[in-house]
């Protein structure tokens, strides 16, 4: 019988060829050994591997791994999220951050909402809101969207579209009300003109880059020059 370690190695080997290859491998494992083995395998993956696995996922197409990613893995993967985005682009208009905004939404929503279990959503949100940029990340998925201010001003009374920033905020309100209050407070602090939103977006994206940068310090140092003594 194949051991979980071997299966993890098989997933890691598949990850070399990208997230969809690993997804196929996970599907094979699930078919052969069931969800309990899949859980064991996913829990062994590093945060960097998780990020490769979920890179192409969204709420319409979550990864098989999403249901088994632990809150700690989620937090570590979130910490590295900024590594995906170009650092060269300036945020001068809403259009400059909408792609990143969608990326954050596609990262957060499946992680927190895809199983539909409120207990899991609560644990994941608790972890995320414990991160210095957690509340900002949730707010970032909403800023500038149609009716987002109305949505924040009257929580729980608006119709929501499932699997979007709206459900993310709604679930946050339900299971982490103090976290929601923090997000609402952040929203109030943003100037309601475009400059305020742009400033918030630029600050958030920059901070996420900084978070991710620490994981690449080794590569940067390895490339430095050596001199004779």
């Amino acid at each position: 019988m194949t051991m979980p370690t071997d299966k993890t190695l098989a997933v890691r080997a598949a990850l070399e060829n990208g997230g969809s290859a690993a997804e196929t491998q996970l599907a094979l494992l699930a078919g052969e050994a069931g969800d309990s083995q899949l859980q064991i395998v996913v829990e062994k993956l590093t945060a960097a591997e998780i990020n490769v696995l979920v890179a192409d996922a969204d709420m319409s197409k979550p990864s098989m791994a999403h249901a088994f990613i632990t809150p700690d893995q989620f937090l570590e993967a979130f910490d590295r999220l900024g590594a995906r985005w170009s650092q060269s682009d300036e945020i001068k208009s809403t259009a400059d951050y909408t792609e990143i905004q969608s990326d954050v939404e596609d990262f957060l929503c499946p992680m927190i909402l895809s199983t539909g279990e409120s207990v899991r959503a609560k644990k994941m949100l608790e972890k995320l809101l414990g991160h210095p940029l957690g509340a900002e990340a949730i707010l970032f998925t909403a800023i500038g969207r149609k009716d987002y201010l109305e949505f924040l001003a009257a929580p729980g009374t608006q119709a929501i579209t499932r699997g979007t920033w709206q459900e993310l905020l709604q679930v946050t309100l339900e299971v982490q009300p103090s976290g929601y209050a923090e997000i609402a407070g952040l929203a109030r602090a943003i100037h309601e003109d475009e400059d305020g939103l742009l400033s918030f977006a630029a600050g958030f994206i920059h901070a996420m880059h900084e978070e991710a940068r620490k994981y690449h310090a080794a590569v940067e140092t390895a490339e430095e020059d050596f001199v004779d003594i």
Partner: protein
């Protein structure tokens, strides 16, 4: 003189504590690099601590040495050559390069505590816990020692990268 067993153990503990806390080897090395950057920046203030234990010098120079002739360095260690003589033999034998970012620290420690500098070299290049980040010498570099020890060291580096 090579570092005492206590200094070696302390160095190994400091390095492995970073690697243990990280979720992958690369992340542990990245964290160690950040730590070593901070130590190098404040190396002068660290001199008293380094005098107490050269392990701090080893961590400050983590990944900052590039062995060109590792067998010479190991032979100097095996022969228990005095620090100043060992450093001179390394220099004249062109057995080592130092990261440009650490050259100021090298010069400071060479002047203030050559024993600790020799210990830092030994800890980084001859103690297993440290061998994950010795940078590979490019093929076009001169005087590359082809002995097995060096090959092993470079393989370790490849593993780390």
């Amino acid at each position: 003189m090579i570092p005492s067993n206590a200094a070696i153990a302390e160095y190994e503990e400091q390095v492995t504590s970073f690697l243990r806390r990280a979720s992958s080897k690369a992340e542990g090395v990245a964290a160690l690099n950040q730590h070593s950057n901070a130590l190098l920046k404040d190396l002068r203030a660290l001199l008293p601590a380094i005098k107490e234990s050269p392990a701090y010098a080893g961590v400050a120079f983590y990944g900052r040495f590039q062995a060109v002739n590792l067998s010479l360095i190991k032979k100097l260690a095996a022969d228990n050559v005095a620090a100043v003589a060992a450093l001179e033999a390394i220099r004249t034998g062109k057995a080592l390069r130092v990261a440009a970012s650490a050259k100021v620290g090298w010069d400071l420690l060479f002047k203030e505590n050559p024993g600790a500098l020799w210990a830092a070299i030994y800890l980084n290049l001859c103690v297993k816990a440290a061998s994950v980040r010795v940078a590979a010498v490019r093929e076009d570099d001169d005087e590359v020692d082809e002995d097995q020890d060096n090959d092993d060291q470079l393989e370790d580096d490849d593993d780390a990268n």
